[in-house]
Symmetry: none
Subunit: 418 residues, 2 copies
């Protein structure tokens, strides 16, 4: 039978509790552990206080097999973590001569010279030393009372490379299993509908497993398998992935990508097409999002942010009478904006957005009413959305952008644009 290792990550640092810094160490270590099939069951954060740290270590001993600490090493915190952990496991601290020598070398460079510096070379007896190539305080690992303890420094630039370099190989030896996970990204179907669609199957699944997650304006379905090798895990995932994709259909915009604009980028590359954007209520967010992707300039020529009507007329050629008659929030203006920017910027395709992102209305339309246009050679599509008056300005803007990218994706994939 396979040994399962429950893991707790215990981060020591008052600055985390004050909200001055974000606990990226816990996230990054968790992500690395999940890749080698080790389950993280708890994250704990405690301040630079020996009594409270001691109590947290006792809790961790009672519920985890592997305890990974970050922070509280080094001279400024009096090597709090090392002292408390060694104590909790009944180990004395002994001087490590190689580390002491290293610290003297470091001190000679003139940095970090404090009366306490040399105390960093005191380490729990019998431990495996993690020599710090990215800073001064060494980390370490030891096994005691049936538990594995790993100690890492707090600063992410030291913690994460040390964990990758020493911690991962140390822990891999303990496990004979590995995890592979893929995220199916979905736009056009909500998380709860995805959940409903697969609820029965998900309840029955053990390995691989499947779970839906809501993102800001779309969602994903994560498929995860544990196996003895990567190939074996992939083979377990393959039929589930095929089934999920078939069942979800064309709302799937990609696997293991972060956002729908990445799917658009891949299609633009494949087909060697260009696009432009004419934006009213999104105020440049479509352009901004696409140009976050390196290499965007090959496919995105630019755009016009026509935040007021006179700019829609002057820069995009939208008809003055149309704006007077129907206001800027209508199907016809969305179409004229997309066509206008496509013509002026000489691109294969162009998208447009006009609508009300709120919080104030225009006295005619409800907040959340947004028209999204797509102009291509010989054809213009417009999608009408009503996102609901309770939505925030930033949600409405992001969602409108997702629709524009979704229309580009559908058009380039030969799907109905709708």
């Amino acid at each position: 039978m396979k040994r399962v290792f429950d893991t707790e990550i215990l981060c020591v640092g008052t600055e985390l509790l004050l909200g001055h810094i974000t606990n990226t160490d816990a996230r990054d270590i968790s992500e690395l552990l999940s890749k080698i099939g080790i389950n993280v069951k708890y994250h704990t954060v405690v301040g630079d206080n020996p009594e409270r740290l001691r109590a947290c270590v006792e809790v961790a001993k009672s519920r985890a097999d592997i305890l990974i600490t970050t922070g509280g090493l080094g001279p400024t915190c009096d090597d709090l973590t090392k002292q408390v952990l060694a104590d909790c496991f009944g180990l004395p601290l002994v001087l490590n001569e190689a580390e002491e020598q290293g610290l003297y070398e470091y001190i000679k460079t003139g940095r970090g010279l404090t009366p306490n510096t040399h105390r960093q070379a005191l380490l729990p007896e019998g431990c495996t030393v993690f020599h710090n190539l990215w800073g001064t305080a060494p980390g370490c690992a030891f096994e005691a009372e049936g538990k594995h303890v790993l100690m890492l420094p707090g600063p992410p630039k030291e913690c994460i490379p040390m964990f990758e370099h020493y911690g991962v190989p140390y822990l891999k030896k303990l496990s004979d299993e590995l995890i592979v996970s893929h995220a199916v990204r979905i736009f056009g179907m909500g998380e709860s509908r995805v959940d409903d669609l697969f609820a029965d199957e998900m309840n029955r699944m053990v390995n691989p497993t499947m779970a839906p997650y809501a993102k800001e304006c779309d969602c994903l379905l994560q498929i995860t398998a544990k196996a003895g090798s990567e190939a074996e895990a992939e083979a377990m995932i393959a039929p589930v992935m095929a089934h999920v994709k078939e069942r979800l259909g064309d709302v799937v915009y990609g696997v293991d990508i972060e956002c729908v604009e990445e799917a658009v980028m891949a299609l633009l590359k494949e087909r060697n097409l260009t696009f432009a954007a004419a934006e009213s209520c999104t105020g440049g967010d479509i352009a901004r999002r696409f140009t976050e992707l390196p290499g965007a300039s090959l496919y995105f020529k630019g755009g016009v942010v026509s935040y007021v009507n006179e700019v829609k007329e002057a820069m995009l050629g939208v008809d003055h009478a149309l704006l007077e008659e129907k206001t800027a929030v209508c199907r016809e203006v969305a179409a004229a904006m997309a066509e206008g920017v496509r013509e002026r910027l000489k691109t294969d395709m162009a998208v447009s957005v006009t609508g009300l992102a709120g919080p104030d209305g225009d006295g005619v339309h409800e907040v959340g009413t947004v028209f999204i246009g797509l102009a291509v050679e010989g054809q213009t599509y417009v999608r009408e959305t009503h996102m609901g008056t309770f939505r925030t300005r930033s949600f409405i803007r992001r969602m409108a952008g997702n629709h524009a990218f979704d229309m580009l994706r559908r058009y380039m994939s030969g799907l109905p644009v709708k």
Copy 2:
């Protein structure tokens, strides 16, 4: 004697333990709590598992006075947190009719209709309901067994506004001491220089206190006083504020605002001026940032995202020969872009950005070389920046935007634009 409330933040979500997302909720709640004088002693993260959650709640009960949970509300997780917490404190869940009605309204919009949706209206008996204006799952607070429990949804866009709107006022009532805090926002001087400037004073200060914080592309100095009343705290802060502002000078762009574009908005209102933007490497981010502010359309007419040179020529009138001779990354092109967009959009002022955000260079300029222009009647200013090749694309884009807004602020304030 003042009652001290030790607080534990307990975040429920397997995706946190898998490292899929970062625990920003714990950081943001901690930061808000520290501003109202409530001490956070522990953060804990546990997965979507009732037994382990129950055990964590028992640990929290033994060591904290206030327990704040995030996540595990809503239909996909079976309202795990609510059920377990109510159970741990011996409270039944009862149907809240107002919340049920609200959920029906939501369902009518056609989204989120699942068999489990209505179960979100079940809440611990006697609790204070936190109606969710940013999503569906309601939060709540109750007092039991001498502890205060607050439950919030997990998604940061719901969790943090709900905590600010309901949680902070709820907790403020528990304390007989009150904290007032003001943030002096600074652009054009780094956190470490601010720290150096006030280090001696800060070390001597007890109440009020002062601390610098680095933000992504600017920094702030937080001044905080504890007192029996708001007026008393404000009176303690006033002389410190005056001293700090005088010492920092014109790098201070505002107090208690979030970003430099807010300072620009206030000046535009005051002076009734309009502006436009011509963006190359920022790709629409200046327009996007300014139009995040409600009411932007009165002052921002629009802009052009001229991501490729042909658009700089066609839409902004930048001279072809100039682009050929000097490339797009130069002082003259920045000036021509700002002048071109100002003329075409008929605004009082216009800003422009052209530069290299990376990761790839152009073989001529270093990544991080960015020119920022400001055109006004009869005058054009250009600022040249070299942010360093080690900066990320997103940092360079954001910093370039900050420079553009800073130039607008300085011009409208009658300061040297530089």
